[in-house]
């Protein structure tokens, strides 16, 4: 295996994958990984969509007789609590199932917003160049210049925590990634013959970009969007953990971890189960992104 390492490694340093994997042997494994990851996301979406049928109980129904019940197959209040109950006697499993709705809804909406803003700015900056490019890239630098979580907390404090606020904040946190990658790709595409050709034929900038440039960057977009989805889900959970996300009693994973924190000593299950699910989701989605990147767009490594 080691002898098959190509001696001439690409100039673009690859920080994530080893050269041996790049030699092509891992392609099938990567395909399987990507398919498995997508299957996981689809399954999670189905769980979220079918929450009312899948959840064993009403996620906000309180039961004073069954507070802080540990994971059990018995039924202290006539209902089984496989993953236990929280401090208000609500069923942890049911809240976990419903919590997937918040994570996925905010995650996908935020990624859509980030893609729209980031891709537009990146493509315009790369295609037009000049002052537009400078403005966009300075904005990107400014956003990267301080911990976004502080700005996010500030904005949420202003607008008040709500579903739309959360989507806007999480969405805008991700635009820089798209803008930077697409800008550099469009800079290269701009000087290619086919772009000159369609422009010589009289195509407008909008048409050139939408019909000829965009299709060439779609694979990068898919890869970044997948990696961003993992980041968005974690950021949403972090904000909910700090009390700035979706407000109670709506169940969200970050909120559940927050609520369970007070009871860590006596009822570890309240925080631990949503945390493990969140961790697994983040891991699987980001691995899917890595696999997609290697399959679709190897140039993005290290981006």
């Amino acid at each position: 295996m080691a002898s098959s390492i190509p001696a001439s490694v690409p100039a673009e340093a690859d920080f994530q994958t080893l050269p041996a994997e790049r030699a092509g042997g891992g392609a099938r494994r990567r395909q399987r990984l990507a398919v498995a990851g997508l299957a996981f996301v689809v399954a999670l979406m189905l769980v979220a969509a079918a929450a009312p049928w899948l959840a064993p109980q009403d996620p906000v129904r309180q039961s004073l007789r069954a507070r802080l019940v540990g994971p059990t197959l018995e039924a202290p209040d006539g209902r089984a609590h496989v993953l236990g109950t929280d401090h208000l006697g609500r069923d942890v499993l049911s809240r976990l199932v419903y919590g997937a709705r918040v994570s996925l809804a905010v995650g996908f909406a935020a990624v859509a917003l980030g893609t729209l803003v980031g891709a537009t700015l990146g493509i315009v900056a790369g295609f037009r160049g000049g002052w537009m490019d400078s403005v966009v890239m300075t904005l990107a630098d400014a956003q990267l210049a301080f911990p976004f979580i502080l700005l996010a907390i500030g904005i949420i404090a202003v607008l008040g925590p709500s579903f739309p606020t959360l989507i806007v904040v999480v969405g805008l946190s991700g635009w820089v990634g798209y803008a930077r990658v697409l800008r550099s790709q469009v800079l290269v595409l701009r000087s290619r013959e086919f772009v000159d050709a369609v422009q010589a034929l009289g195509a407008s900038m909008t048409r050139t970009v939408l019909m000829h440039v965009l299709p060439n960057v779609v694979s990068s977009l898919i890869v970044i969007a997948t990696l961003e989805l993992a980041r968005a889900i974690v950021l949403e959970a972090t904000l909910s953990f700090l009390g700035l996300g979706v407000q109670p009693p709506t169940p969200s994973w970050g909120g559940m971890i927050h609520e369970g924190r007070e009871y860590l000593d006596s009822a570890w299950w309240i925080s631990t189960f949503p945390g493990l699910v969140l961790m697994a989701t983040s891991l699987v989605v980001s691995r899917t992104g890595d696999a997609l990147r290697d399959l679709l767009d190897p140039t993005l490594r290290g981006a």
Partner: protein, 308 residues
């Protein structure tokens, strides 16, 4: 030499624009978030008292005037008086800075000391069980949300095993868990990066030459591989300081660590603008300075990227 100065000048100019943008955004966001005065006074305070405090804090002036004063003061390093603490914001923040520096530096040192050898070992012993296990842990470490890792540490190490305290600041017992929590992402990233950088370097022609000369594997790895792999490792490790700044906000909240991250979160709830502005501004300056240093370091370490 001239081109180096031109490059420096260009970077400094850009850094200043970024700082101006950051402070303006923070100013706008914080002013939009509402009036802090009612939070300061008892609920039954007379209207005249509210007006007096507003005037005292300069909040009765038109926004553009407030903005001009704000920019002027910021240039002089004056962020105004904290509304909550009734002291200059800089003084308050300076009081909390030590805790954050202690936490951040410890996390950074732990990360560098652990991650680089792990990555190196993983690369040299590639495709062994050791490599697979450490890299799997690194992947999980990168994917684990900081706040949940903190909760897990508190649950397992503090509460169940009773080994370390759950929160607060004191001696190294208090420091260890927050520093590990904060550093986890950095450890994982730097270990993975070191591994690929070393692998990349091990596959290069000069390593083959070194081996062909009959040098021992130890010399090949330390002298020929590590030196060439050092550049990306140093860059990414230094840039992780930015990640640590952001992570400190969450970590300090989880462990009740009295640093500027937790101070900033509390100040946002208190609408204590001067403190928030000061913290964000200092974070941005730190981040920009580190970026600049990394760029310069790059030129020192790698003759190929020196501007001609």
């Amino acid at each position: 030499m001239r081109s180096v100065l031109a490059f420096l000048g260009w970077r400094l100019g850009r850094a200043l624009v970024v700082l101006w943008l950051v402070s303006t955004v923070v100013f706008v966001v914080m002013r939009l978030s509402g009036d802090p005065v009612p939070l300061l006074l008892p609920p039954d305070a007379p209207h005249s008292e509210i007006l007096r405090v507003r005037a005292e804090l300069g909040l009765d002036r038109p926004l553009p005037v407030q903005y001009a004063i704000f920019i002027g003061n910021t240039l002089r390093g004056d962020f105004g008086r904290s509304i909550h603490f009734r002291e200059p914001a800089m003084t308050v923040v300076a009081g909390y800075l030590g805790a954050t520096l202690e936490l951040g530096l410890t996390a950074f040192v732990i990360a560098a000391v652990l991650a680089i050898p792990i990555g190196l070992l993983s690369a040299v012993r590639r495709n062994t069980a050791l490599d697979h296990v450490t890299m799997a842990i690194a992947l999980v470490g990168q994917a684990t949300p900081t706040f949940f890792l903190g909760i897990l540490f508190i649950l397992v190490i503090s509460l169940k095993a009773g080994l370390l305290p759950t929160s607060g600041r004191g001696d190294w017992h208090n420091l260890l868990l927050p520093a590990l929590t904060l550093g986890a992402f950095t450890i994982a990233s730097v270990a993975r990066l070191t591994r690929s950088a070393v692998l990349e370097s091990l596959a290069a022609d000069y390593v083959r030459t070194a081996r062909a000369k009959g040098l021992t594997e130890l010399v090949v790895v330390t002298k020929h591989t590590l030196r060439n792999a050092a550049l990306p490792i140093i860059t990414i490790t230094a840039l992780q300081v930015g990640t640590l700044l952001g992570g400190a906000v969450v970590t300090e909240s989880v462990f009740a660590w009295p640093g500027i991250g937790r101070l900033c979160v509390q100040s946002i709830y208190n609408r204590d603008y001067p403190i928030v502005q000061c913290v964000v501004f200092l974070s941005a300056v730190t981040f920009i300075v580190i970026n600049l240093c990394v760029d310069l370091l790059y030129g020192v370490l790698d003759p190929r990227v020196r501007p001609r």
